[in-house]
Symmetry: C2
Subunit: 297 residues, 2 copies
Amino acid sequence: MRPELARIEAALARWVGAGAPDGLAEAMRYAVLDGGKRLRPLLVLAAARAAGSAGDAPWLAEAALRAACGVELIHAYSLVHDDMPCMDNDVLRRGKPTVHVRFGEAGALLAGDALQALAFELIAPLDDEPCDVPAPVQARLTALLARGAGARGMAGGQAIDLASVGQRLDEARLREMHRLKTGALLQASVEMGAACAGALPEAARDGLRRFGAAVGLAFQVVDDILDVTADSATLGKTAGKDAAADKPTYVALLGLDGARAEADRLFGAALSALAAAGLPDTAALEALARMVVARDR
Amino acid sequence: MRPELARIEAALARWVGAGAPDGLAEAMRYAVLDGGKRLRPLLVLAAARAAGSAGDAPWLAEAALRAACGVELIHAYSLVHDDMPCMDNDVLRRGKPTVHVRFGEAGALLAGDALQALAFELIAPLDDEPCDVPAPVQARLTALLARGAGARGMAGGQAIDLASVGQRLDEARLREMHRLKTGALLQASVEMGAACAGALPEAARDGLRRFGAAVGLAFQVVDDILDVTADSATLGKTAGKDAAADKPTYVALLGLDGARAEADRLFGAALSALAAAGLPDTAALEALARMVVARDR
């Protein structure tokens, strides 16, 4: 997926901060460029490839690139705000000082806010920017991203997380929190990729949706495992901080071996869902699911 | 405009916080409901009425209501984040404790983030919510709102504002800051209302755009005047804080009489632009422009 990664980086470098006042542009670019696994945008491109292999959509590549960058900007803004002193108060991210350390709290707050808006600017640009993506595709991408980012998605999951520090959640509640906090945006990535192709058979849409849900949950289980087993240098962020903050995690709930078994089970569910989608070109999606489960940072 | 106001309040009460986790929903509703002049949503509805009076768009009322609530949510989130300790550190807003005072800083940060996402969820809903607004209208509303809210709009203006505390701006730079910080979203309100009607003659679109720009700037000039002349009880927020923070304002630049003359000049420019739009039903827009200039809070 090296060419896809290069396209994503180039597009982000072109779009992020363009037209913004100097200081704000610098903080936005610092938050987004030169870092991150780009898992979400890669999922968008891979899902677009799988969904597009059936039909003929000349705008597919552009729609997928805009959607890929949009979802990455939502992810990036959430990290900027999460790291702020009033939230996780973290000073290290992707091996660099966090945005509020570098640009001040007000600068980080504003950069995050502007990144969220930019996600939607990219997906639905005004007439002064050339864009060949049909309006119905733009509208559906907006809907999926907004739902995935908002109170019924990522922001809702963070709110549950915030309220649950020091509490003992049962597995159902923990799963619900993660389904929203991390899963919603990962699932949205897959669904957005699928939406780039326009209309899809119901089986394909449903299979991709279930694939995204399983990968999203697996990601969080592995995150919880790495928080315990990896060191800060490898992670590029502070390790062990969930345990230190007495946050509920899969490891706390299931033990380390139980969490590993759960990650494997979710990987299997993702592959079954993908097979049920009945699409020809799903190798990249499969590889990304494997990467999510096998990653060491 | 009492019926319009009632429709806006009812729609916000129905939409804000729906489906969100309890604590988050409460903070979002606290930030939005039961307060505010609703100037931006009223501008959307008035512009939709003016633009729609020419053609026949059965979805017009729904599109305008969704757009009206969307722009109000962007405004509301910006106030929540602005009031936070790292920005203006304000404890009073609309006569009530600010959101971070009531729900903590992390709660305010998340509520603001979720409100921004909700703005786009309302304008471009997923299939599980009934919506008769055509996709091209949804896409254009998204584009206008995202641009108005982002780094080339409101967030950009706030960044300039932040960087300019204690600095002496000349009139051109001050005007540019306010054009973005307050003007962009007010102008977007008018353009979003116009977009609800679908295609419009170029003269109408241009006239409404210039009307929105003049009203947006007039709003800020009057804000600067009120910061000096009104008391906190009338304003429902802390008076005199711009001067205390040594922020550049129109009053600091032009003096009180000069600022008043500038507000009058902009009101005249707004009415001229409206006349040039050549639309039949512009009484509500005219009344709103008058309200912006004559308001005492």
